[in-house]
Symmetry: C2
Subunit: 404 residues, 2 copies
């Protein structure tokens, strides 16, 4: 497996584009994106578990119930959520995309992201969708990634090539996500494309399994979004033998999927609203996988520990505190905690108690851009990793006045 | 029932004191507090559900297993948590209090609050406990309340008088709590005193029921502390007939208890680390009490909504979002949201969708010190209230470098 350029257009037969259509007032920011497959593709998606769901979620669910899609359309600047006419507007978006492209409206993955509870005007999208389709290009991944950004400060795209039965396939994706990030079975907006041939059923299975270890293990602020969606289209143009059961080819596909999604997870956490540091928590030696995940996620979710990381304060007591309320089973008296970064590694807690350590070195380690917390339990063999970021003044600033 | 002065000393036979002993380096801050009953009292307590528990929690649990206590001793500046010798030190504290006071060491409620994971030196406490006992006074509630404060900016004390079978009784308390506030069946440090005669079993029952609607409905930052404890001593000196079963007298006691604890809850939330506003969320019309509590607590816990309140931004979409991921059963299309304060009242969401409202008036309402969010569901008859605060730059500042 190898990382390559091209993002969501890296896989054969996929083009993308992003334009400014006017949903946002800021005229320099692209706010409408399209991803197009030359041929109908196997499709799957996972969605937010929030009971308050964006209208596009319901429309996309219906559209890809048959496991097929060919085009994704997404606007930023307005989430089309909590609007009485929301589903009608989302379906109009599918029809507009269909008219412009010749794709069936039921083969459109539709998404919106931005402010909740403000009606989404269809006019800017009606005006923008034709230029958007005409702008489709094999170099369009950047533009599409920009068109779905909200408070994101960095573009998020990634692609890998991998081999299935000796045939080279490519899987790539783009993502947006910076705040309201605390996924529950799905998260943020992520569009993945792949040229491998894989049945809708196996694609669904691969995606559902993968998110448990990837997007479900990211948290920026503990708020589960209303519009989270991870979608994937696999169009088969690589020419591999159709993957329709478990086995070596399916495993190769899942490994590529995991490489792409875990890379996007790190990008999303690193670009958390206001974040100055990427925080990774790795838990080893847990009794069960569930316990490992609960522990890792609890640490990256703790406001107190996140503020300490912002201050480069080696306040490991807050790590123990977060483990204690995580809901995981653990033997507190057998916990080790180590902080690690490019500046070095330091154990700050051993067997659940304080150890002497150099505050100076600890501070150096925590001042780096990427900080890892390694937790060793002595309860079993399970491990898990979660990603988050520090809690900063800028998070408060960004969210103190987001709408205006 | 009537609010009276005197805090934790308002009830007959209780004295209190607070001194500086040296656990803290700041020599002007009291850091050791004592509450003393002239006679042994019925006692009960509820404790943090965090698996990582402060050492004093274990010692207090053992000491009041028999339902009797006579003295409470608490230091601030060090939580005595995650220390290998923690329980031995906590028990030494009981013995020192016993030597100074003549009370049995097993009748001491012991508590510590402050930094986790630093050994608690016994010397300052050994030096301080005698002057502390000698300083006991019926006017000592203020000093005791100050001695247990950490990042708190306000003293928290309250007392009420009430009638049981025609006999006037008094129930009062002091509390500390400002950060790491997200109780789970118990919270923070709260010491309650009462002169009513009530059996340990009924006292335990009253306290356990009460915290579900009071301390368990407060959140400052989503972090459940390791040292949370709410304790109560009731010494019977009011002269009422012993309350040893349910009935009118028990109900009068529970009403007084609820008045004191809910007042302390508001004080704690209002004094949340960095808080500029008290945020109260009242949910009505929920299907079950559990749903009502989940909804109310989810709203006051949402980092995004808390930041919006700081910015006086009427971002009600974040309220809907928090209801959606609360875990409660609700019909999203039947939700109303109203913001209220001394500046007025404004409905911002009706039947789950946006309504036209004056942004100007909404801002005025949200700029007040105390802001209420009223949520009407149309799923049933249950209601609940939760307390929290806004998320501010100062929260990040306070917690970015707490230890040094």
């Amino acid at each position: 497996m190898e990382h390559i350029s091209g993002g969501v257009c890296a896989a054969k037969g996929f083009k993308a584009s992003g334009v400014h259509c006017g949903v946002r007032k800021n005229r320099t920011k692209r706010d409408l994106s399209m991803i197009f497959s030359e041929v109908p593709a196997s499709a799957a998606a996972v969605y937010t578990q929030n009971l308050v769901k964006g209208a596009p979620i319901y429309v996309t669910q219906r559209n890809i119930a048959d496991g097929v899609a060919q085009l994704a359309l997404c606007n930023s600047g307005n989430a089309n959520t909590c609007n009485a006419d929301g589903e009608a507007v989302a379906w109009q978006m599918c029809q507009l995309a269909a008219e412009a492209s010749g794709v069936k409206p039921e083969d459109v993955i539709v998404a919106s992201t931005g402010v909740i509870g403000q009606p989404l005007p269809i006019e800017p999208i009606a005006r923008g969708v034709k230029p958007l389709f005409e702008a489709l290009s094999a170099d369009g991944s950047h533009d599409a990634a920009e068109g779905i950004m909200t408070t994101d400060t960095r573009l998020k795209e990634v692609a890998v090539s991998f081999s299935v039965d000796g045939v080279t396939c490519v899987l790539g994706g783009i993502a947006k996500g910076s705040g309201m990030i605390h996924p529950n079975l799905a998260t943020m907006l992520v569009f993945l494309t792949c040229d491998a041939a894989i049945s809708p059923a196996m694609l669904r299975k691969a995606l559902s399994e993968d998110v448990k270890d990837t997007f479900n293990m990211v948290s920026v602020d503990g708020d589960t979004s209303t519009n989270d969606m991870v979608s994937i289209m696999a169009n088969g143009l690589a020419g591999n033998k159709l993957i329709d059961s478990e086995g070596e080819a399916y495993d190769a596909f899942c490994a590529a999927l995991n490489e792409v999604t875990s890379t996007l997870c790190r990008m999303i956490a690193r670009d958390g609203e206001g974040a100055s540091r990427l925080l990774t928590c790795e838990v080893r030696g847990a009794k069960t996988l569930k316990d490992a995940r609960l522990c890792a996620k609890s640490v990256v979710c703790s406001s107190l520990f996140k503020a300490a990381v912002f201050g480069a304060d080696a306040n490991w007591g807050r790590v123990l505190c977060a483990l204690g309320y995580s809901g995981a089973e653990l033997n507190v008296a057998a916990v080790d905690v180590t902080f690690r970064s490019s500046a070095g590694s330091i154990t700050v807690c051993s067997m659940g108690s304080s150890v002497d350590f150099s505050e100076e070195l600890a501070k150096q380690i925590l001042l780096e851009d990427e900080v890892e917390v390694l937790i060793t339990l002595r309860d079993g063999e399970a491990s898990a990793t979660a990603w988050g970021c520090d809690l900063t003044y800028d998070y408060v600033k960004i969210n103190g006045d987001y709408r205006t």
